[in-house]
């Protein structure tokens, strides 16, 4: 099966770049516009592009649905866990300053980094999960009927 050669070649080239751009957006969120939400959607877009070009089954082999489910929960837990950790260190919920008591702004920095990673994981997984959920439904119109 070799239709859409150009699409396949170009997307093979693009997908790693899209994923990398996602991480750029993620970590650049410290200094400028960016952050977990945007990065998560971009990362999910790379998976969705892969599924569109190479088929849903190939995508599910690369990123299994069970990983996606665990990713969703893990993302939320990473976010919430950061908050719970601040509890155990004696601060209010999500008060990152307690991570480095003598230098509060560093603590804020680490805290937001962990939280944004959680957001990235959760958003990317949810987007992929939504795509998988809709994509795996059997179409009751075949391609010829269209």
């Amino acid at each position: 099966m070799t239709p859409h050669v150009i699409l396949r070649v170009v997307s093979k080239f693009l997908i790693p770049l899209i994923a990398m751009f996602a991480f750029y957006v993620q970590f650049h969120g410290d200094y400028g516009p960016g952050g977990g939400f945007q990065a998560g959607v971009i990362l999910a877009a790379s998976v969705i592009l892969y599924a569109l070009i190479f088929g849903l089954d190939a995508a599910k082999k690369a990123i299994p649905p069970s990983w996606v489910r665990i990713g969703m929960s893990l993302g939320v837990l990473l976010y919430g866990g950061t908050g719970v950790a601040t509890w155990f260190l004696g601060g209010e919920f999500l008060n990152y300053s307690v991570f480095t008591p003598d230098h509060p702004s560093h603590g804020q920095h680490y805290g937001i980094l962990a939280v944004e990673l959680g957001v990235l994981l959760a958003v990317a997984s949810v987007m992929v999960a939504i795509f998988y959920a809709f994509g795996s439904r059997q179409p009751d119109l075949t391609d010829e009927d269209w």
């Binding site: 969703m72 929960s73 939320v76 837990l77 919430g80 209010e92 919920f93 008060n95 990152y96 300053s97």
Partner: protein
């Protein structure tokens, strides 16, 4: 206050955040659990912790201390703060206690109504819904209210749609609920946008302060009030905006119906109180106009029309759903009276109605569980077939009508007194008239159950088959609670009076 000293200090100190965070995180874990039993046990533990925590908070409130929890250590109005005061703590306790009781009931009920594979995610959605409801009650930040409102609504749509394995109309009911619920939430958020334009802050106490300084503000604040009232009205099933409610209650799994009927509209009603009386203030003339003419009018209309509609339903769950809309009318009337007595009567009815309607829907769920019936005509002989469940249904039904020595009587009496104090004799008359209507629709069910003989299948009378103990315990707990309130209402009346005091003082 002996009980309170048994609580660890951190539980009270961080309780406000724990109430939201715990179900949210455990919901995320439950979603990927492999076993159904494990997910039920987790839900049980979480709701138990919630109940214990909110009870502790309730005790501190009774001791006269209100709390402000700063999330992330950021001071309000910049940071998001959680507020624990006399107005929201009883509602918090109501939500967590109802969650605990319905979880107990859920084990047999969910086993009968939801497909096995979907059960762990079902419990996860339930816990996220609880977190959303608690969040929207506890938060002191107006935009946070919207977020939690949507968190609870979205999980509720899912929970309602889970009824599809029993009745496919659950899907369309959930869809209609989704459309109207989203429109309501969007109206609410438009209102918040206008409020932010007017005041430049999102902290509810801060908005209230600035609006008071501006003496009600310009037309922008007026428009904001309109949008917020309509948005919340959709969520709490205010009379002409109630179209989503009967379908959602009638077709959801019975455990979800119980939880929705006793908490979801109540939390929205709490928000209505909070926004009308503490964020805005009845001393602004546009607010008092809406409260006196619109809310009262719609409340009266709901009491009359929804009660009448309830009489003509063939399906028992739909009949009780319409009755819920009518009861929301009573609470709106309490708000409309807008005196301390009226507010505390409305607030009392909010709490009592949650107990009563919870018990009634628990009984209906048990009927379905044993015999698969929801139509009133099929109730024939239930008095003999399920004596304990029907007994609970009867007592709760009497309480809904407002027979003396039940919870319903206490709140209706207070409401009538408040109306008479304000010399609204017509309102008092309508309360009595709608109670008569309630006699008709509850009486119809009781008559069928007790004075018709059980149906015969193949010449044999259908055997007696009582509901399992797991269902009877929460049911009778609520029924006995309602009778206890009817006999001695001091404790709950005090709570309602404190809440009304918070409202009348403008939230400070």
């Amino acid at each position: 206050m002996d009980i309170l000293s048994a609580y660890p200090g951190w539980l009270i100190e961080h309780g406000a955040a724990l109430l939201v965070i715990l179900p949210l995180l455990m919901g995320a874990i439950t979603a990927i659990m492999p076993s159904e039993r494990l997910s039920w046990v987790t839900t049980m533990i979480v709701t138990l912790v919630l109940t214990v925590t909110s009870f502790g908070l309730l005790l501190t409130i009774m001791g006269g201390e209100s709390q402000l929890y700063r999330l992330g250590g950021w001071d309000p109005p910049h940071g998001i703060s959680f507020v624990i005061d006399g107005l929201n703590t009883p509602v918090l306790f109501l939500i967590s206690a109802m969650a605990l009781l319905t979880t107990l009931y859920a084990l047999p009920s969910v086993a009968a109504e939801v497909e096995p594979k979907k059960r762990p995610p079902f419990y996860a959605a339930f816990m996220v819904g609880v977190a959303g409801l608690i969040g929207m009650v506890v938060t002191g930040d107006a935009f946070n209210v919207f977020v939690f409102l949507e968190v609870s609504s979205i999980s509720t749509y899912v929970l309602v749609a889970m009824g599809a394995s029993r009745d496919r109309r659950a899907l369309t009911a959930a869809y209609n609920y989704l459309i109207l619920g989203s429109i309501g939430a969007t109206f609410f958020v438009i209102g918040l946008g206008f409020l932010y334009m007017e005041t430049g802050t999102l902290n509810m106490a801060d908005i209230g302060r600035i609006l008071a300084d501006l003496d009600g503000g310009s037309r922008v604040a007026m428009v904001a009030f309109g949008f917020i009232t309509i948005g919340l009205g959709l969520k709490l099933a205010m009379f002409p905006l109630h179209m989503w409610l009967p379908g959602a209650y009638a077709h959801a799994p019975s455990f979800v119906t119980v939880f929705l009927a006793s908490t979801a509209t109540k939390a929205a009603l709490y928000l209505m109180l909070r926004f009308t009386f503490t964020v805005f203030d009845p001393s602004f003339d546009y607010v008092i106009t809406v409260v006196t003419y619109v809310l009262t009018g719609l409340g009266i209309a709901a009491m009359l029309f929804a009660s009448l509609q309830a009489i003509f339903q063939t399906d028992a769950r739909r009949a009780l759903a319409f009755s819920s809309i009518a009861q929301v009318g009573y609470m709106l009337l309490g708000i409309g009276i807008a005196t301390a007595a009226g507010l505390s009567a409305g607030y009392l009815h909010l709490l009592n109605h949650a107990v009563i309607k919870g018990a009634l829907f628990l009984c209906l769920g048990a009927f379905w569980y044993r015999y698969g019936i929801t139509r009133i005509d099929d109730f024939a002989g239930l008095g003999k077939m399920m004596p304990w469940t029907m007994g609970a249904f009867t007592l709760a039904g009497l309480s809904l009508i407002g027979v003396p020595a039940t919870a319903g009587f206490v709140s209706k009496l207070n409401l009538v007194k408040a109306a008479l104090d304000k010399e609204w004799y017509w309102a008092a008359t309508i309360i009595v008239v709608t109670s008569v209507l309630a006699i008709i629709y509850i009486g119809r069910m009781l008559l069928t159950a007790y004075f018709q003989s059980p149906p015969e299948i193949d010449g044999e009378v259908v055997a007696k088959n009582e509901a399992p103990l797991m269902m009877l315990i929460p049911m009778w707990f609520l029924v006995l609670l309602s009778v206890a309130i009817g006999i001695n209402a001091d404790l709950i009346s005090d709570a309602a009076r404190d809440a009304a005091a918070v409202l009348m003082s403008g939230g400070s």
